[in-house]
């Protein structure tokens, strides 16, 4: 086990470096020039040069990268934005909780939907419930989150006034000038985003859970449990679910990690100032440090989540724990 953990950690470091290097490289392949944007209207060549020096992009790429790495590791400082000279740390710190609310809340929502539907469909294959849930899966997987978001927003928000159309409220300590605050408002504003975000994942998970449960139901040890005289409820609860849902743990970890990277579409529709939206804005402004900062944060989140999930899985499954 220890070897396994150490190896995973080392790989995590390698991955981290690889991802950040690639981000840098991509950024420099883009033909646009951030210095021009910063230099103001109708910049003269000297102004552009000065802007370049000011931003620090007149040095060769690898020097920039090494500076960035040093600053990150030693000072935990993600640098300053090209666009507005704000610290990237604070930009990320402001955006992360928004994305986190969306993703974690959404994950709970999608599991609450996917688990019962997936399990019941598997227990009654080809029934009406099963066919209905498979249709739901098809719709959920095919429909684009933007479309779903717009539909929800229109009906629930605009026409029926059940939920707000868009906007985000801080859960605690509303920031100055914000129009709302507090946990109730926060949850109220998050209902639609959670629903939208959850639809796609719920569909995917229903399909996966259904397949896993169906497979587990056909395993020999389930037959043994029945042969021992266990009632069907116990067979499913104790024997089937434990095995069928093991892989779901891994998938969940991976998906949450990915989503933390920026649930872009949902954030855009509902005007949530999360990581995804911030990243898009920064990209349009060719604001490398902010983009890099978000990439670093997302990568760290994904790596950590995957590591935690792998370790959790190795712990839960005795075949791996006691190999």
């Amino acid at each position: 086990m220890i070897n396994y953990i150490i190896r995973r950690l080392l790989w995590a470091v390698v991955l981290f470096i690889a991802v950040t290097v690639v981000t840098y490289i991509i950024f420099f392949i883009i033909p646009a020039d951030p210095a021009r944007a910063v230099a103001g209207k109708n910049p003269t060549p000297e102004m552009i040069l000065r802007a370049r020096h000011y931003l620090g992009i007149d040095k060769p790429v690898y020097i920039q990268y090494l500076r960035f790495l040093k600053r990150l590791v030693i000072n935990q400082d993600l640098g300053r934005s090209f666009a507005n000279r704000e610290s990237v740390n604070s930009a990320v710190a402001k955006a992360a909780p928004v994305t986190a609310s969306l993703v974690f809340g959404g994950a709970i929502a999608w599991m609450l939907v996917a688990l019962p539907i997936g399990i019941l469909s598997a227990l009654r294959p080809r029934s009406l419930l099963d066919r209905a849930s498979m249709t739901f899966v098809l719709v959920g997987v095919s429909a684009h989150p933007i479309w779903i978001g717009l539909i929800f927003s229109y009906f629930f928000g605009y026409k029926w006034h059940i939920t707000p159309i868009s906007g985000y409220c801080d859960a605690i300590n509303p920031s100055v000038g914000a129009e709302c605050g507090g946990p109730v408002q926060w949850a109220y504003h998050m209902i639609l985003p959670w629903m939208t975000f959850a639809v796609l994942f719920a569909a995917l998970y229903v399909r996966m859970i259904r397949a896993n449960v169906l497979e587990a139901l056909n395993e020999d040890y389930v037959r043994t449990a029945r042969a021992k005289g266990a009632p069907e409820g116990r067979v499913v609860r104790v024997h089937v679910l434990r095995n069928a849902l093991l892989p779901v743990v891994t998938m969940l970890g991976m998906d949450i990690g990915l989503a933390l990277g920026g649930a872009v579409f949902t954030e855009t529709i509902y005007n949530l100032p999360g990581l995804g939206r911030t990243a898009i804005t920064a990209l349009n402004a060719l604001d490398l440090p902010t983009v890099q900062g978000i990439v670093v944060f997302s990568t760290l989140a994904i790596i950590i989540f995957n590591l935690v999930v792998d370790l959790l899985y190795a712990w839960i499954d005795p075949r791996i724990r006691l190999a």
């Binding site: 395993e219 020999d220 042969a227 021992k228 005289g229 005795p318 075949r319």
Partner: protein
């Protein structure tokens, strides 16, 4: 009263291609403490017969008819709840592949405990102690330590012993063993069969041993039934079946065995392969492969009838008694096994 009596048992499965008649009219009985061997090749219905007795067939698309009397009560048409009470308590079953028959995420102690707690009103500690007793009885070394191990930490032979322990933990009257040694090495098989016979003495259970291996049947069974294409073609005591077989399929089975002590140039082979159970052949189901086929065999299904003078020996074949006796003699002479 027999411990188990099966009358005209039929199990049909509804599939997309039609109705598969997996078991199509099977009769037999098992007495207390006796061992019944059910022998036949793949697809003959021997496994489905046992699953039907235990009520382990899938609920939908399975049609079962006939009677299964356990200690006089019909368990085929009883409620699911009552059948569940019997399963694992009075009637227990072990399966073929020990590698996959135990749940990999629970310790064997937990699984043994479950077997006890499902049927006995005792504390967890008592259940665990009982499990430990059985582990000792089946010969697991250092059982106090091994009881908290997981299935993947045991070898195939050990796992099968655990399965046997789990089946016997509630002292069943009947143990159904579906090819329990097929997946094991020969020396391990010998250990397990030896163990089962010893335990049968100690616990007094009756055993239904399903296998395709005629050697295994000869070694453990008191009574034998030979199944082919969802029907019984011959039944009788082990002695009778092996020394005076009366059905061409049984002759074929016996003749196709390469033997340890006899030298044959060519093995007797049964041409063709087993029929589809969707559309079994008309008349005698064995007729397309039978070297003795007559016209009547293609039209009329032979009944399972007693052999002259031997009420306990039944067979289903249209051949006259003389031919049967003669062919059986020929077969056995060709297979003379010297005392090994």
């Amino acid at each position: 009263m027999s411990l188990l009596e099966v009358r005209d048992l039929k199990t049909h499965f509804r599939t997309d291609d039609g109705i598969v008649k997996a078991v199509d009219g099977v009769n037999f009985s098992v007495e207390k403490g006796q061992t019944l061997g059910i022998v036949g090749e793949s697809g003959c219905g021997k496994s489905v017969t046992c699953l039907t007795i235990m009520g382990l067939n899938p609920k939908i698309n399975t049609i079962s008819s006939g009677e299964v009397l356990f200690n006089g009560d019909d368990i085929l048409h009883t409620s699911a709840g009552k059948l569940r009470e019997l399963r694992g308590d009075k009637i227990a079953m072990i399966f073929q592949d020990p590698m996959t028959s135990l749940n990999p995420v629970y310790t064997i102690g937990a699984q043994l405990q479950e077997a006890v707690l499902l049927h006995r009103d005792v504390t967890k500690k008592q259940a665990r102690a009982r499990g430990l007793e059985l582990l000792k009885a089946v010969g697991i070394p250092r059982p106090e330590r091994r009881i908290d191990d997981y299935p993947h930490q045991f070898s195939g032979g050990m796992r099968q012993r655990v399965m046997i322990a789990m089946a016997l933990v509630n002292d069943p009257d009947l143990l159904i063993a579906d090819e329990p040694t097929t997946a094991l090495d020969v020396t391990t098989q010998a250990q397990i069969l030896d163990l089962m016979m010893r335990l049968q003495q100690d616990f007094g259970s009756a055993i239904m041993m399903i296998t395709h291996d005629l050697g295994v049947v000869a070694e453990v069974a008191d009574e034998v039934i030979v199944m082919y294409a969802a029907k019984v073609v011959e039944q009788g005591s082990a002695q009778t079946i092996f020394k005076h077989p009366q059905h061409p399929y049984t002759w074929g089975l016996l003749g196709s065995l390469p033997r340890l002590n006899a030298d044959v140039e060519r093995l007797v082979q049964i041409k063709g392969q087993p029929p589809s159970l969707l559309n079994p052949p008309r008349g005698c189901r064995f007729h397309p492969r039978c070297p003795y086929v007559m016209n009547i065999c293609k039209e009329q299904e032979p009944q399972l009838l007693p052999v002259a003078d031997h009420a306990d020996h039944l067979q289903a074949c249209h051949l006259d008694d003389e031919t049967k006796a003669r062919e059986a003699q020929k077969l056995l002479a060709g297979m003379m096994a010297e005392a090994g």
